[in-house]
Symmetry: C2
Subunit: 376 residues, 2 copies
């Protein structure tokens, strides 16, 4: 319409001005009305729970990805879909080996996963690689965020790689990861890797959702320990000394012997399993079959002695109670009445003006005196 007006003024311009503007060609509108109709039609056809379920059961990776996006979404509509989908997938889940993999940055987690992942898919396994890294939102250094580090594996039709959900608390990330595991298992993945960085609270979370916990370490004169949190070594079912190639082979073998001796001094595990120390090279692909054989021995042992199922039940209960406790705390610490006083009360505790317990009581009194308001 505007263009038409311009066109009508054209003759006038010629008369009234020395500046001659050539008429030119009419530009097409910048918005394609047809495309909008097509997109809207497509959007209206958003997948329902049954579509997701069917796609997942057929092993359709695209639909699996979309379903995981629903799990990770904070929109109530998406959460509703995710909730129903997960309940539907639950009877088809559980038939995998869930393996936690940790190690500090620089230990070679990505290349290790790429190498052993290729070995496993070549043996006919279907492998899903997930990650738990609640820090990724802040640091933007999300593990697995850079898929190019696993170039071969990410184009392997029998492998599925999904970066850490970046939203919110450790509890939130843990929930999303556990639910993603259910979807992956229902989609036929029989090995699930859950990767984490060995520096924070997230290993405890990952340890509480896997069957087997693998710690990757570098051989060296002690420097390799920098950054690993104390307590993680005792959680490991296996330690793999990475980069055992070239000049490093002897150093790696020595480290293997040392760690094996050290682990012997540890108290026995609940599972009856004696943690193993192995060496491997992701570049030369050595040690990888041994690692997988060891995991299989562990699975045989724990399935036979009942620990495997016990542990999965314990983990299911653990996450139920953990979720409840997290929500109770969240409501408490996010309530306006607590927020307004907690830092000054914490200061009193730290400066020894009151005891931890008197301060806790004071806060609890403040919270529960408000009654209704805070309980909602």
């Amino acid at each position: 319409m505007e263009k038409r007006k311009g066109d009508e003024n054209k003759e006038k311009q010629v008369d009234e001005s020395a500046l001659i503007v050539n008429p030119g060609i009419e530009q097409p509108p910048s918005i394609n009305e047809d495309a909008i109709k097509r997109f809207k039609a497509k959007k209206r056809k958003q997948l329902g729970v049954d579509d997701y379920f069917k796609g997942i059961r057929e092993g359709n990776i695209t639909i699996l990805s979309q379903a995981i996006t629903m799990v990770e979404s904070s929109l109530p509509k998406h959460q509703e879909i995710a909730h129903r989908l997960i309940e539907k997938c639950l009877p088809f889940s559980g038939n995998s080996v869930r393996i936690g993999i940790t190690g500090v940055p620089g230990v070679g987690k990505s290349t290790f996963i790429e190498a052993i992942g290729g070995y496993l898919t070549s043996k006919g396994h279907k492998l899903a690689v997930l990650a738990v890294d609640p820090s990724s939102e802040k640091t933007k250094g999300s593990i697995l965020g850079d898929k190019t580090r696993m170039e071969t594996l990410s184009s392997d039709p029998n492998a599925f790689i999904r970066p850490s959900p970046s939203a919110g608390s450790l509890g939130g990330v843990a929930r999303k990861t556990r639910e993603t595991v259910i979807l992956c298992e229902a989609a036929g993945f029989d090995i699930i890797f859950i990767e984490t960085v060995g520096v924070g609270q997230s290993e405890v979370a990952v340890h509480s959702m896997v069957d087997f916990f693998l710690l990757l370490m570098l051989a060296g004169a002690g420097d390799e320990l920098q950054g690993i949190k104390r307590g993680i070594m005792e959680m490991a079912d296996m330690i793999a000394i990475t980069k055992a190639d070239g000049h490093n082979v002897n150093k790696a073998k020595l480290a293997q012997a040392e760690y094996q001796n050290a682990l012997h001094l540890f108290p026995p595990t609940e599972s009856g399993w004696v943690p193993k120390v192995v060496t491997c090279s992701s570049v030369y692909k050595t040690g990888l079959p041994e690692i997988w054989d060891t995991i299989e021995s562990y699975m045989n042992l724990t399935k036979e002695n009942g620990y495997f199922n016990d542990r999965r039940s314990q983990q299911a209960k653990y996450w139920m109670y953990e979720s409840i406790n997290e929500e109770l705390s969240k409501r408490f610490y996010n309530s306006a009445s607590i927020k307004s006083v907690i830092s000054s009360i914490e200061d009193e505790v730290v400066s020894n003006k009151t005891t931890s317990f008197a301060a806790a009581q004071k806060l609890l009194d403040i919270y529960f005196d408000r009654g209704n308001e805070n309980s909602k």
Copy 2:
């Protein structure tokens, strides 16, 4: 009065009956009226907060014991006294080394504490020995319950031994122990031992209230590890191999070397301290000065690098948050609406009929829908 009546009837009996009852001697009343008056007077004079405070500051062990009984009591009247007393003692607390001591039954904790305790009091220290053992109520096997195991130390005027409070939850026991520490410090004790058995959750609690954590172990072929919980070794600032005497000396030296090597492989501690392994004999009193010297080096290091104060502040905050979280959980799990459904919902989770998170949500909805009732 009754007796007098009997006496008057005496003549009559002689006349009216063939049965002759000899008059006998009047019995004194079974209740001593004077004593009642004395007891009542004493009870009315129950100590007030100021009396306790004065006694504690004078180092009066009897009054200290009575004050701890107030701390351990669940009567609101006693708790009120304890609360005010602790706040009063707080500015005089903190000037001690708090040492956690753990090890499985049989490792010789009591004889070790008796031996090193005697060494420390002979050097002019004042030592309080407390214990954390929440299981003691159930098992009746309270540690330190049997003071005869520390015969010499319990009659030492510079030592004060107090068994574990036996009431209730770990959180409750922890609170009472931390408050007892404050009283003991205000009473002039400059070394506090907190003993625990290395088999449960209580080590984590003790570790969170001490400056230094000592793990006692036996030399042997691995059997000594039975019963120690995984994760405890990595909490230790020092491992002492006990019973390093007679035939055992070589075995103990070997174990020492092995553990020292193992600890070198552990990640560094936050404090910058490298955990030490020593041997000792409680019978021959060998190794005890070295243990104390090591603890003093630790204190010097951590006071210099600031870790000592940081850690105490962290601990104070930890117990504030821990107490709040415990109370929030207690109200939730003890509420009638949750109690009536939780086990059936837990069963659904374990049998994979629902996810941990959906179950948690269901329980939270039940709890918070009741609103007012549950928040009180």
